[in-house]
């Protein structure tokens, strides 16, 4: 017999072993998220999917669903916290949307719209992060990395290559590449790798194309992310 919890009052069925996020996604309900992609093991690092489970905050992507539980998701309080988390991500890196090829197809930008973020508000860090264009097919712009580790997970778990890793600690944490020179061009990343097209923001971008989709026709131009879904769901159209 299926078990249920309620999400903002709606009954959501789930099977044993599913997380709140799994069950909500299966039921077609949207819980905002950035580091989660159902293809990969949940991670729980961005904290954007924080919901209240029987009054206690948990990350929906890692918290097991509980029978009879009340889950709050789309509330003013949680939306405000999500907006603040997004602001922290914006000021941590260098996110210049108007100049970014991923604009309109970027989950960070789309979520910021969805959560009503109008300005970053906090003091920008403006870190100096050189980009890496050494690979024939991809460029990595570390300025836009949000440390979701989707490329780390995809390369390790789907491609079996572990091309990516995290170095540094605290605010110095950053994406690193496994190759003799530390450059992407010397790594084993191949055009067809899952890790190459998993980035939800504009940190890993294909070369030889740019600004291909006109403004107005991009993924999140017409529909909010809650309806359009993740970048990964539209891989063929968006890359």
């Amino acid at each position: 017999m299926l078990k249920h919890f309620t999400l903002d009052g709606k009954r959501i069925p789930f099977a044993e072993g599913q997380t709140i996020m799994d069950a909500a996604m299966a039921a077609g309900e949207y819980i905002p998220h950035l580091c989660h992609n159902p293809e990969f093991a949940p991670h729980g690092s961005c904290r954007v999917c924080t919901v209240k489970l029987n009054g206690r905050r948990v990350a929906a992507c890692t918290a097991p669903a509980l029978d009879g539980a009340e889950v709050e998701n789309d509330t003013d309080e949680l939306r405000d916290e999500r907006r603040t988390l997004l602001q922290l991500l914006f000021i941590e890196g260098n996110h210049i949307c108007p100049a970014c090829d991923k604009s309109g197809n970027c989950q960070l930008q789309a979520l910021a719209y969805y959560c009503g973020m109008t300005a970053p508000e906090f003091t920008h860090r403006y870190p100096l992060r050189p980009l890496d264009a050494s690979h024939p097919d991809f460029v990595i712009d570390f300025n836009r990395c949000i440390l979701c580790e989707l490329c780390v997970r995809a390369s390790r778990d789907a491609d079996g290559k572990s091309v990516f890793a995290i170095h540094g600690r605290g605010i110095q944490a950053h994406l690193a590449i496994d190759s003799p020179s530390g450059k992407l061009g010397d790594s084993k990343l191949h055009k067809e790798d899952r890790a190459a097209s998993v980035c939800p923001v504009g940190a890993i971008l294909p070369k030889h194309t740019g600004y291909a989709v006109p403004i107005g026709e991009r993924l999140y131009d017409r529909k909010p992310i809650s309806v359009a879904g993740d970048v990964s769901d539209h891989r063929k159209d968006s890359s």
């Binding site: 072993g17 949940p42 729980g44 961005c46 097991p64 922290l88 991500l89 605290g170 690193a176 496994d178």
Partner: protein, 590 residues
């Protein structure tokens, strides 16, 4: 259909076990971990170079570049700042011509600060190549400098410099009572695991680390967790005492290690474990040799190894693993990640370590004082432990008392003792505030000194830092903010970015450039960290800051204005333009 829950945690890397040990050994052998050594490790262990470098990067005591023949680290917690550590560090830098944070050009020495090394009752202190020297003064530093210049090996330095007095000021239930080396093991052999569990439960023993989970319940959950081979469970002692201002575990490891090992062996016998690990913080590396000697004595006495106490199937070994300078590894799941050869990021829970811990095996993790208490409870009559403390917090608490008082050191008090009684006993006067439970704990004003040390009132892992009326509490909280920004693992957004924003805002206010807007920012970020951080570090990092804002007036007095103040100095920002145009007239200034 029943699904196996998807693990949200990083898989155990192949041959990751023992990686940290190899790296620590290489660091102390060569002074750094070379590219060639990393290359060799990738081949030996089937790990990528990026993985190994990511692990090295995570720990403050591991380096990719040579840090010199003598690595000198001054402990930089707030107590040692009050004791004048900064002036002493600057003195040594001048004396040796070795700029702070750099390796001297000839590669002989480097000097830097490090997080609290567990010596605030006898600071200022430093670590030289992992060995602690307490009670520093200018004269000692001058003598240290001569030895560094003469390239004298550490073994030929005066050994009395390295002596660390225990400084036990008050003995209570645990420290005043005797305990024979194998008393707990013998108690188990003459009764049964269930009888021991009942005894621990009856005693009401709760984890001494501060969270206070019932010890008997933890051990029982682990004992009941399924394993594929008998005794496949693991007992881990969390000796990664990193909370600033704490040193009681160091004292226990120096003077009471036999009891700890007895308690761990007891736990192994109760839950069915064949493997024990003491995760010893890197700052206590100098305790490694005496602890290993103690383990060797126990092996010879039949209290460790195969057939303990002559009983077939009671096989248990204890190894000691060294940490390498990462506060977060005191969080139990980070500690396990660290042991598995990964960065010490906290895990998502469930699963909890009692069902899936080290290498996926059911694991009990307790701190030093908890194992010692368990050993002593097992060896004694029912009711002994319950005779002290309160209904919800039985027994006693070891406190590490430091700061503005006449007699800093370790004090053992029954739970339920009021703070003002402790202050009086240690000779504290004109106390402005007490920070209890370390940087992650609470800053209490005098109006709360009638509160008591207990899980149900003021819970603490044992740190007790005293600040008199002459101290600037904003500096105290800034020191904590620096600490958390340095020690955040960087995994989750609110802690990674929030700790840095809090640090920046407190600095701005401390420098006299703060506004009411900055206070709002502090509160907003602090609340976000409390609510959404992945682990306790991020959730508790803003606690002292909230206390400062809620219970003290110092911050209000330091605000520059009620309106918005920019994050940078506008006039200073014009300096480049003034230089370029050769102007310095009043019109070129704001």
């Amino acid at each position: 259909m029943v699904h196996e829950p998807r693990s949200s945690n990083t898989p155990v890397p192949p041959r990751g076990e023992g990686l940290l040990r190899s790296l620590v050994a290489e660091q102390y052998r060569a002074g750094f971990i070379s590219a060639a050594r990393i290359q060799a490790l990738t081949a030996e262990r089937g790990l990528t170079r990026a993985h190994i470098e990511g692990v090295i990067d995570f720990y403050s005591f591991l380096h990719l570049e040579d840090v010199g023949r003598f690595r000198i680290l001054f402990s930089d917690n707030i107590i040692e700042r009050m004791q004048g550590n900064r002036a002493l560090a600057e003195h040594l830098c001048r004396r040796l011509g070795s700029p702070l944070g750099e390796v001297r050009a000839d590669g002989r020495v480097s000097i830097d600060y490090t997080s609290c090394i567990g010596m605030s009752d006898q600071g200022p202190s430093l670590l030289v190549n992992g060995h602690a020297i307490p009670s520093l003064d200018v004269e000692t530093l001058d003598r240290i400098a001569s030895r560094v210049e003469a390239n004298t090996p550490l073994t030929e330095w005066p050994q009395e410099w390295f002596e660390i007095p225990l400084n036990i000021r008050k003995k209570g239930l645990l420290l005043a009572n005797e305990h024979g080396d194998g008393d707990a093991v013998n108690a188990l052999l003459s009764s049964s695991p269930t009888a021991i569990l009942a005894k621990l439960e009856g005693a009401g023993l709760r984890g001494r680390g501060g969270a206070g989970f019932a010890t008997a319940a933890k051990w029982r959950l682990c004992r009941d967790a399924p394993v594929t081979q008998p005794n496949q469970r693991v007992v881990i002692c969390n000796a990664d005492e990193g909370e600033p201002g704490t040193f009681k575990d160091r004292v226990l490891l120096q003077g009471y290690a036999e009891r700890l090992f007895d308690g761990m062996t007891l736990c192994a016998g109760v839950i069915g474990a064949d493997r024990g690990i003491v995760y010893l913080r890197g700052e206590y590396r100098y305790l490694l040799a005496p602890l290993q000697a103690s383990l060797e004595r126990r092996r010879r006495a039949g209290l460790l190894g195969r057939r303990i106490g002559g009983r077939a199937g009671f096989d248990f070994e204890i190894e000691i693993e060294l940490g390498a300078g990462a506060y977060i590894c005191g969080e139990e799941s980070s500690l396990i990640e660290s042991l598995e050869g990964k960065r010490g990021n906290p895990r998502n829970r469930p699963p909890f370590p009692v069902t899936r811990g080290y290498l996926g095996r059911p694991t009990v993790i307790n701190n030093v004082a908890t194992f010692i208490a368990a050993a002593m409870i097992a060896a004694r009559e029912e009711g002994w432990f319950r005779g002290e403390g309160t209904e919800q917090s039985s027994g006693s608490k070891l406190l590490s008392i430091a700061g503005d008082c006449d007699h800093p050191g370790v004090y053992e008090y029954p739970f339920g003792t009021p703070i003002d009684q402790i202050l009086e006993a240690c000779g504290a006067r004109q106390t402005q505030a007490v920070q209890i439970a370390g940087a992650a704990g609470h800053l209490l004003p005098p109006a709360q000194f009638d509160r008591t040390i207990a899980f149900e009132d003021v819970a603490t892992g044992g740190s007790f830092m005293i600040f008199n009326e002459s101290r600037d509490l904003l500096e105290v909280v800034r020191n904590f903010a620096d600490f958390f920004a340095h020690e955040s693992c960087g995994f989750c957004t609110p802690c990674r970015v929030g700790t840095t924003l809090i640090q920046q805002n407190l600095t701005k206010i401390g420098d006299g450039r703060g506004s009411r807007w900055d206070l709002e920012t502090l509160r907003r970020i602090g609340a976000l960290m409390r609510n959404t951080s992945q682990c306790g570090l991020g959730a508790t990092a803003p606690s002292a800051m909230f206390d400062l804002l809620d219970h003290f007036e110092v911050v209000d007095k330091r605000l520059h204005s009620d309106e918005f103040e920019p994050a940078f100095d506008l006039d200073a920002a014009l300096q480049e333009a003034r230089q370029a145009t050769g102007r310095d007239d009043p019109g070129a200034h704001l």
